[in-house]
Amino acid sequence: MYDITGYHEADSLATIFKIIKADPKAKVIAGGTDVLVKARERKQDFIATQLIGITRIPEMQGITMAEDGTLSIGALSTFKQVEKDPLVQQYIPMLGEAVALVGGPQTRHVGTIGGNICNGATSADSAPTLFTYNAILEIHSEAGVKNVPIADFYKGAGWVDLEPGEILVRIKIAKADYEGYLGHYTKFAQRKALDIANLSCATLIKMAPDQTIADLRICFGVAAPTPIRMPQAEAFAKGQAINDATLKTIGKYCLADTNTRNSWRASKEYRDHLVQIIPARNILAALKEDQ
């Protein structure tokens, strides 16, 4: 038995707001693949509290495209739904490739992309990709709706900008942030399944007609307490031709922009090595996949 004090299946956002207003400690639960594991481990905030189930709320489901080309991903989309979705496959394939690498099939059938982001882990496999697509998080509360760029949402390890009573409803990606881009995601882990990344990296690239880099976006997971973009490498890359020297310099700038650490999964030295070589591999893989 889980040590919870009650369970409420919410049928609307208004119901969630009402319950949390009465009991600010009540915990929202989507697929539960983080919440129930933490409850099992008896982590503070995850026991002796009531849970509010949100998976049956209609406006948080489905993946759609607006008239202006903005893609909108319901927070409750499971990893499997994202991976198999035709809009994802056509316009933001890197996201589908990234979430296909989460856990095992059972985790992907239940775990949601919204929960992956709200959980705040730097290792979340959907996060680096969403950072490079400049995803906007549509967050609802009783006070109204706010749109938060994903880079502003992450505050620290396991810490996101979400007050009690705030619910991530949809994740949006503007057309300008995916059109013409090619991408590749690398999850560097010990095993091919059921493993957490030692380091992960999403790379999105747009080429100019003269075969120089028009835009490059790189985001690492597990290279800092939150996923982080590489401002120096990205600024340098604009206008460069793709050759050995360019790729090496991108790697050097990435090293300067990251802040890796030692952990039992991998040493700092190893991570620093990976930080310098993986973006280049991703760039070449992204361009190759296009051919």
């Binding site: 038995m1 299946e9 099992r40 189930g53 095992g104 099939p105 059972q106 985790t107 239940v110």
Partner: protein, 170 residues
Amino acid sequence: MNQTIEFTLNGETMHYSVDVRQSLLELLRDELALTGTKEGCGVGECGACTVIVDGETVDSCIYLAVWADGKTLTTVEGLAAEDGSLSDVQTAYVQDGAVQCGFCIPGMVLSSTQFLEDNPTPTRPEIKRALSGNMCRCTGYQKIVDAVADVAEKRQENADIAPVKFTRHA
């Protein structure tokens, strides 16, 4: 702390009052005496507790029992025919020697069964990926993958589809 839910379990409609603190695994094993579903890790890592919910495998140890409301569930007890004869997947596991201690097998068989529904013409890497949420500490997996490949091949022969040829592990 009970809620009454309605669900279909192995073809039978159930009305059941469940404790909201219970996992689906606890409901199945402790209340309904369906002990074919096993508990290994209890945290979603091993797949011993796999059941099929609305055509998708889930780890029942990290799935609340109340979530079964309105859904259709299959456990390993629901695979054999009325007369007790095994399903083709179960038979292949036996014939290919894919079972050692057996603890992982109910979960493996359910993952295999659902996967073959979704993908009747799988490649070997696809079979491996489909079973990657199920851990086995005994067999080394090859015979398990063989068993799934055999079922796919046999079903394709019966259905007269040109069978995909698998490279058999020595």
